[in-house]
Amino acid sequence: MVDSLEAFGRYSGPATLLLSSLADGPKHGYALTKDIEHFAGIHLAPGTLYAALDRLVELGLVEGLAAEGRRRPYRITAAGASALRDHLEAQHKLTEVGLARLGSAWGTP
């Protein structure tokens, strides 16, 4: 399986957060920051947010909608949804293996 978010390297963190936030509907920059802070406890700085957003748009994983006043909402594309799913499934598998090995060697908490 090709993990298209892998191409982000050190930006795969912000990219995953952005795609996960956009998964339930379009949001503009500030709404994205607040939503990510709410569900992940991470406050993305504006430069990091837009660098990741630009890359996602460039790769066709996210698209910009018509601006609403000064703010432009962004929406996840079908390619973005599938890339996010692949990435999260790979992460999920990793989590399961890690927890299982921790459980067998160190006992469950």
């Binding site: 191409a7 920059g29 500030y30 700085a45 430069g47 660098a51 460039e58 790769l59 000064r70 703010r71």
Partner: protein
């Protein structure tokens, strides 16, 4: 103008104009919201400065793609002719069709940066006022501490590469007399034995008169993509480029791009991603 807006506009100046025009108000609005919410947040300034500078350097970088081409075949460089110092910008390069190699003067001007795209495939070499032939183009290596000097300096051409004006050597084609197209040359199809884990295979490299539609190898692991091109009879030259999006060792792009009709044995430049 509110205090937040003033601060936001000041931060925005870290980014180049082109980027600011691409995101006219949305980024400014986000910065103002961010400043209203957290007036004192040093990490925001550092973050904006770092990303702004990165966008700027990426813009610069695309203008200064330099290479490590395997061109200077001259093994024992008995004589090194400094082309740049002798060449004058004359324009009107002797271009052999749009898909073929170009030849002409090195577009060198003292203190000026020469864009990669303006350097012909075969550079005219002069000794004093007399042009004595053409040599494959060459570049200074990357990682130059002085970005402005990249390609701006004279490029040495080894005399052992030189051919007289009666004709010139084309990579993969051989010696072509002046006034003849390299694609019209008679040739013997070459057979090459390729060793693979599954055994040896013989592939036949067609003559330059054969045309090939360049396949899309972007995103492939560089050796795999190059093998694919070689299999079709295309020669490759590797250019290392920095990429933020393509994993190291993978192909970022080719020049000419996929879909272009090329001649067999024509050299296609493969941009290989490096950190």
């Amino acid at each position: 103008m509110s205090r937040q807006e003033r601060r936001a506009r000041r931060l925005l100046r870290w980014y180049p104009r082109s980027w600011r025009e691409h995101h006219p108000d949305e980024f400014l609005a986000l910065l103002e919201d961010s400043i209203s919410e957290r007036p004192f947040w040093p990490r925001r300034t550092i973050d904006i400065a770092a990303h702004g500078l990165r966008v700027r350097s990426a813009e610069l970088g695309s203008a200064f793609r330099t290479s490590r081409r395997r061109v200077l075949i001259g093994s024992s460089a008995s004589l090194v002719v400094v082309v740049g110092a002798l060449a004058v910008v004359t324009g009107g390069f002797g271009v052999l069709g749009t898909s073929g190699p170009t030849k002409g003067q090195m577009p060198y001007e003292p203190g000026k940066i020469v864009p990669y795209s303006s350097v012909p495939d075969y550079v005219a070499v002069s000794i004093g006022p007399n042009m004595i032939g053409y040599a494959p183009r060459a570049y200074e290596t990357r990682n130059s501490p002085d970005l402005a000097a990249v390609l701006g300096r004279p490029v040495p051409i080894f005399a052992s590469n030189l051919k007289t004006l009666l004709g010139h050597e084309y990579s993969g084609v051989g010696f072509v007399p002046a006034g003849k197209s390299p694609w019209s040359q008679p040739c013997d199809p070459e057979s090459v034995i390729v060793a693979r884990p599954s055994g040896e295979t013989v592939i036949t490299i067609p003559c330059p008169s054969t045309t090939i539609v360049l396949p899309n190898v972007v995103g492939m692991v560089t050796p795999t993509g190059m093998a694919e091109l070689s299999r079709l009879g295309i020669s490759e030259d590797v250019l290392n480029v920095h990429s933020r999006t393509v994993l190291p060792g993978h192909i970022v792009s080719t020049s000419p791009p996929a879909g272009t009709i090329v001649h067999a044995r024509q050299v296609v430049v493969v941009d290989n991603s490096v950190r």
